[in-house]
Subunit: 417 residues, 2 copies
């Protein structure tokens, strides 16, 4: 492993990116690939289809980083300025690359398309540059060695950029810069804890710096702790992560529902499957979202028997057997009604467990006593029914999502008992 840090900068080129008409997903992708071979990213930036600005950005990046990667602006039209801007930045001429030219002509021949004359522009690469054929388009990728710096130009469409980056650029960089330290990450996922609580509890891990760091990322009703480790190889990085992970798990306990790509619905599904249990759901304010999340998991038909979305008092009475006077006395959004809904759907379906929610998703329908965001979540299991009250803030879809997470979390905790 070479001792010094290698740093890189990514410049995405395109007015449609700069104006926000499309989202720049390439930068995140390139970042991930670079971190896997231990290359430190200094900055990502986006510039429009403007040759002067791109030249300024290229010079600036070359003054700060060892590797500069551009994406986009390699097409055949006048808008496509990347290659000319690089040529001007490094003061080298563009010359026709015969092999690339042949592959472009083949591209059109194979697809029986008429080739516009201006496409030959894409066969012109910088003198001394390494051109990489594009397996799915006509714009080649280009690697240019410029003094001690490396400039890499990639086409903008993700499906063209990805194979060139993975098959040619990453191996090239790994070879040039040698075996370096790698960066590995691991997410610990929790539900039902406030971010401030998690922050306080694991504060000392957040203050770490150097080769292992931890950070908190929160979404509605779910907080992730992401551990990042740098080491010479995967084994050592994993060992560093495991040590911190073990400590955090012992602090947060059962609030941790999973890791990395795990979702509440996936974990709940695994537990139901393991225990051979079936589930039914009665939803009011979530309007089907809990069931939709449950059924995002392949195999959910094994445990989800049915759900009933009772969006009217009438349907709560008819479908779930909620007593009319119970609604009249306590209101549809109340603890007794949530409990009756859970009992009703469980009785009707014969499922092992049942969830029920009733609440006010807003923005209208709230009162002083029962504000928007108030919700009751009930869980019925054999003879027992539990019911919790929660209050959430946000717009209608935010509230729906938070309630659905809280319901799934209540079920997960019950299944762990």
């Amino acid at each position: 492993m070479k001792p010094n840090n290698v740093s890189a900068e990514i410049i995405a080129v395109g007015s449609e990116l700069l104006l926000g008409q499309i989202v720049n997903t390439n930068a995140a992708y390139i970042s991930t690939k670079l971190s896997e071979i231990g290359i430190d990213l200094f900055r990502q930036s986006v510039v429009g289809d403007n040759p002067e600005r791109l030249t300024v950005a290229l010079k600036d990046a070359l003054s700060k980083s060892d590797i500069v990667i551009t994406s986009g602006g390699l097409g055949p039209t006048v808008d496509d300025i990347t290659m000319a801007a690089i040529a001007s930045t490094v003061s080298r001429p563009l010359i026709l690359d015969e092999e690339i030219w042949k592959s472009i002509k083949d591209f059109f021949k194979k697809r029986r398309l008429k080739m516009p004359h201006y496409v030959s522009k894409q066969a012109h690469v910088l003198e001394g540059a390494l051109a990489i054929k594009n397996p799915v388009g006509t714009a080649p990728g280009v690697i240019i060695e410029y003094g001690k710096k490396t400039i890499i130009a990639l086409p903008g469409p993700p499906r063209e950029l990805k194979p060139i980056l993975e098959k040619s650029v990453i191996p090239y960089l790994r070879k040039k810069f040698g075996k370096r330290s790698i960066i590995l990450t691991r997410s610990i996922r929790t539900a039902g804890l406030p971010e401030s609580y998690v922050n306080k509890k694991i504060r000392k891990f957040l203050m770490m710096s150097g080769q292992v760091t931890a950070g908190i990322y929160s979404r509605p009703n779910e907080v992730d702790i992401k551990i990042t480790a740098k080491a010479v190889d995967k084994k050592r990085a994993t060992a560093k992560i495991k040590k911190v992970e073990k400590n955090i798990l012992s602090i947060l306990g059962k609030a941790v529902f999973g890791f990395d790509g795990d979702t509440l619905e996936l974990i709940v599904g695994k537990e139901l499957t393991k225990k051979h249990m079936t589930l039914s759901i009665a939803e009011s304010c979530t309007g089907g979202l809990i069931s939709s999340r449950i059924t995002n998991i392949s195999g959910s038909s094994k445990y989800l028997d049915r759900s009933i979305i009772t969006y009217s008092d009438r349907s709560k009475i008819k479908e779930l057997g909620v007593k009319k006077d119970l609604i009249a006395r306590h209101g549809a959004v109340s603890r007794p009604v949530a409990v009756a809904m859970a009992k009703g759907i469980r009785g009707r379906s014969g499922s092992d467990v049942a969830l029920a929610v009733t609440g006010i998703a807003g923005p209208s329908g709230g009162t002083e006593e029962k504000p928007v965001g108030l919700v009751y979540i009930a869980l019925a299991k054999q003879g027992n029914v539990r019911c919790v009250e929660r209050r959430y803030i946000g717009n209608r879809t935010d509230i729906k999502y938070q309630v659905s997470s809280a319901a799934l979390e209540l079920l997960r905790k019950e299944l762990l008992k």
Copy 2:
């Protein structure tokens, strides 16, 4: 209109963005909003949670642009470095803002949460800065005038950034920089047409260049045509857009379901409300997604009576009255079963219209004859039942989404009759 250009740069702060662990969607959003008030974007960039690098990026941006907007890094933890980096860049102290401090304390009180002491960090803003309350979180937005330059710091979570940008920052910039040439966009939204068909039909508008341009953006089962116009004022830009819009509408006809922020569920809801009609839904493979989309609309309790998600044969029989031998003869994924489900839920709920879907969301459960992605969608209205067969490609959640859009589109067309 002031003659000189006003330029802006956006700096997103966060190692998780730089390392590609999350995609930077804020930059695209801010870009769009700036272009609407005629502010020219010079560059977007992303830097990690590194105070020195952020300071370098801030100084660099201030040397090139009139407005520098940061997103992220305003949280209460040690990772959150933006405010300190700005303070160091402009050499001004951070002082406690009493009003913001009070709003943060209220935030915790309302949620009945214990407030960690370090949250007070978020109430410290730059001397002379304008602090903007965060309606959904604790990090305030901040506007700082620095010589002729304006620095704006916004919180990173999109649901916190958006209201602050729209309600405070954009009006502030419009007032400061006056009336400029503006860029306006208009999206025409269609459902049920293949992208290649739309492309062919409106080809001549896509080839336009100059002050009005059109582009195609496609999502599963929905294709948008985005028209962009530049003009000295909103009236002229609108007139340019209207001309192109009118032509495209006459070509695409009833496939157009709405404009800009319109969704199928919103339009369907408006039609049901207008006609005083009620809806009930029987879902199988979509697992609650159609109902969840319908109930994302405020006021949907006026027309959605109930939905039943029958994820088992048993529940189709018991809840919807589907005949056991119908399922045995044709299979649960079949035209007769979809029709019986629609009739069943309509009969049970007494709603004016009813939707029913049955299909194979995959990835398992497909056969040669009935592959993954096959779906039947039925619509019942008074004596009539219509049923369509569709085939979709994608992963489980893609297929669910496409089926839900097709069902909503079928209902929309029926309501337009």
